[in-house]
Symmetry: C2
Subunit: 537 residues, 2 copies
Amino acid sequence: MDLFNNFDALQTVQQLEKLAKKPYNLAGPDALSPERIASYRTSVCGFDFLYSTQRVNQEVMQALQQLADEAQLVAQFKAMKSGTVMNKIIGYASEERQVLHTACRDLFTDTPLASKATDEARNQLTRLKKFLAELDNGSICNAKGEPFTTIVQVGIGGSDLGPRALYLALKRYCQKGRKACFIANVDPDDAAAVLSELDLSKTLINVVSKSGTTLETLTNEKLVRSALTAAGLDPARHIVAVTGAGSPMDDPEKYLASFYMYDYIGGRYSATSMVGGVTLAFALGYENFLELLRGANAVDQAGEQEDITKNLPLLMALLGIWNRNFLGYNTVAVLPYSQALLRFPAHLQQCDMESNGKQVTRFGKPVQWKTGPIVWGEPGTNGQHAFYQLLHQGSEIVPAEFIGFRTSQYQQDLAIHGTTSQQKVLANMLAQSLALALGRADENPNASFPGNRPSSLLIADQLTPYSMGGLLALYENKIAFQGFCWNINSFDQEGVQLGKVLANRILSELTEKEEGKSLPSDAPELALLKAAGLEKL
Amino acid sequence: MDLFNNFDALQTVQQLEKLAKKPYNLAGPDALSPERIASYRTSVCGFDFLYSTQRVNQEVMQALQQLADEAQLVAQFKAMKSGTVMNKIIGYASEERQVLHTACRDLFTDTPLASKATDEARNQLTRLKKFLAELDNGSICNAKGEPFTTIVQVGIGGSDLGPRALYLALKRYCQKGRKACFIANVDPDDAAAVLSELDLSKTLINVVSKSGTTLETLTNEKLVRSALTAAGLDPARHIVAVTGAGSPMDDPEKYLASFYMYDYIGGRYSATSMVGGVTLAFALGYENFLELLRGANAVDQAGEQEDITKNLPLLMALLGIWNRNFLGYNTVAVLPYSQALLRFPAHLQQCDMESNGKQVTRFGKPVQWKTGPIVWGEPGTNGQHAFYQLLHQGSEIVPAEFIGFRTSQYQQDLAIHGTTSQQKVLANMLAQSLALALGRADENPNASFPGNRPSSLLIADQLTPYSMGGLLALYENKIAFQGFCWNINSFDQEGVQLGKVLANRILSELTEKEEGKSLPSDAPELALLKAAGLEKL
């Protein structure tokens, strides 16, 4: 178990604490020299990463490399990819699972690191390819013999946010006449609003729940089944399922088709499994989904490099740890200068905060250091007209992660006042990074900018299935590296359990009230129901 | 000027600092008694607000009332509503404007507080009503004589987020055959993706920019004009404008119709002016827009109550200040248990962070206390499957503001396992508030919940135009009250200027590079362009 070490037991942590007493001042004279800007830069898998606007110097960078080495972060990553049981808490009941989302994209070699999991992924892909071909050739169609044009993914959390973010990011690449929609919330208005805009007769429903017991998803499946029946359609002809083998949803007779996901893939890391695969491959085509996997796999391989300048997810993780644990910033803004990435921050918010919003170590002891930050963000340039005021002049410092692409997706652009919209969006992204760092003194204190606010820039040529796969894996692996470094289990989510228990208690009060109360009369649940005017709901 | 007082000069602030040394422990034995839950509750304008799960006791509540009194928060609010110049920094160049968004909904009395502004709002409403009637009766139509079915709002920041959030919230109430879309980002893919899905011949374009100079909006207007022309359509027959009198866009000949907004209404507070009015009234109908104004006006009136239990926006503001300045929490999560409110947190993020992310007082001096928090959030129950792990067990404490409605909008619901989806969504909301507060001890440290994490619950009967107006005004006024208390100017946004300057500098480098460089060769802008691989873009 020598891969697991407490963060505060690492010698390099003490060294970094000393260095953090005088972090690099980005607003100092000549702080951003051309040499610095050119050298705090790395290129990995088609991404250029610029970090001269982080509050680091060469000494800090060396210490971060040393931190990675001392904490054996790459060895932990390789252990994860190879199928070691990384989802566990030593000495306590825990999930005790492998963590193998990387295996479902380790398809492009004859020697995958976790061959059994990769074989399983390959089998599912083969079945998916066949299913899609049958949709294409018309052997699967609706009762009237018409092709399906729309797929509605019914899922929540990991079965929703990742696939939705990726679909929106890549909508440009949709196959002609195909689209996807999503229903997640147990709020009945979510399903009602989505269904009201569809021709159900040409719609596939893709119900996704690993456990096959997710309250929201089962409820929405029933709402959708009822809507299909009401429209005179046979649900078994319209609904496909993605679930774990042996789950209550693992009942191929109820579904037009069924695909498996496996317990070694956590929900929030499942976008490249069948959880994302069925909907994305239906809408974008199978080859585009493979390209996504190819891009993710390339970054997974870069994650095995020991040198942090060649291992971009690790470098991003370490800079995040510098900001979080040594400079004390407790949030991170992810700011894609790409409208297509509008829901990518929401996916990362889930992936990061559910993974690393933890309070105990992998030894089951309370953590004595800060763990995962609050992750939030919206696309630029929109955000510039919204919350950037606080980023520049507020009393909180928010490290920013900018993401941009040299070329637009639609390539429908005009030069106005001598520059295209794409040039404008990129110029704004660079300008914001500089403005946050440099600041500006002004005689009018309200027009002064303190500067010295850190950010980084991640730039690729174009947002394509391949680069989207890479971007996803960069962040998935960044999050895993941070969890390894903090010695927390990034792969469970015990913190969601208590709410479920209390919700069920309240629901049973609502259902059983005629037969006699299930809760003591002074229970806060009852008092809250009453105060909320919901006891007679 | 005795309405303006520094926060740290208020006597009550010292008293609150003492009280904050031992804040109420929500996880203590019997901390949430039925009596407490029943009494920490108020009902205003159709909203029930429950705050027993905030870390306050009666002493703190009395001190917060005293803080409101001492800082003359209600007097400042009335001064604002009456037309006092509240947008200013004393002793320095500043916008020096009135702040009168409340006037555009003060329509339901013969004696509005700011009668000139209300008259101007009424005039615009009358013109809007006439325009809509002409659309309805066919006297305004497309070149083929067909009615317009879609309106695309082209705006950014305040001209986008509020109207978009309100439209999505109230989409259920759309007039038959009417819908709205939005283009904001200067990323050319935003316009391309939106336009690709529309029948332009039946589409109105609503270009919104108060200054008439917003880079993104003017650029997108040109993209849209070019798309209309390419489709063989006459832009002047399709484009309407909302702008300030005298702005470069104030040119009725270029537009099918023009509506005014006024400089006493800030962008982020402009959703109830013509900025929201044209699109919302087109899609939802004029009467529904009036209902929205009516709901907002009711809350504006409640904002004049001195008693904080009757003045809900003030109460929300003070509880926020307690959490921010005295308990030290630097973020707020807004968590609507209503899918229709999916973009309301993004609007509030703008409204709050652009208003109160400030560093100087209204006397032009650096603030010595914390100002506006980072505001973020997503709808529940979705968030429960995403970031709530961190809310319950992370190393940061995030005050949560839950929002829910007793009845769904579509009323398409099913009882499954004895409860409807609406009951499930509400039970989950109450359960989360309780779980955050109570926590739960467990022998397995990973299954333990520390609890003692504050939240509040805001509940109304249904999300309608009226309640949406009220909800909007609750938050707008909450934000203004907090700014008054912190003695900052919540109505300017100087923090967005530096980024604009630097972006223009980079853009002129891109345009002028053939004629000779505009920047010195060691400028960081140049080095960054090069490092980003954008210098030849």
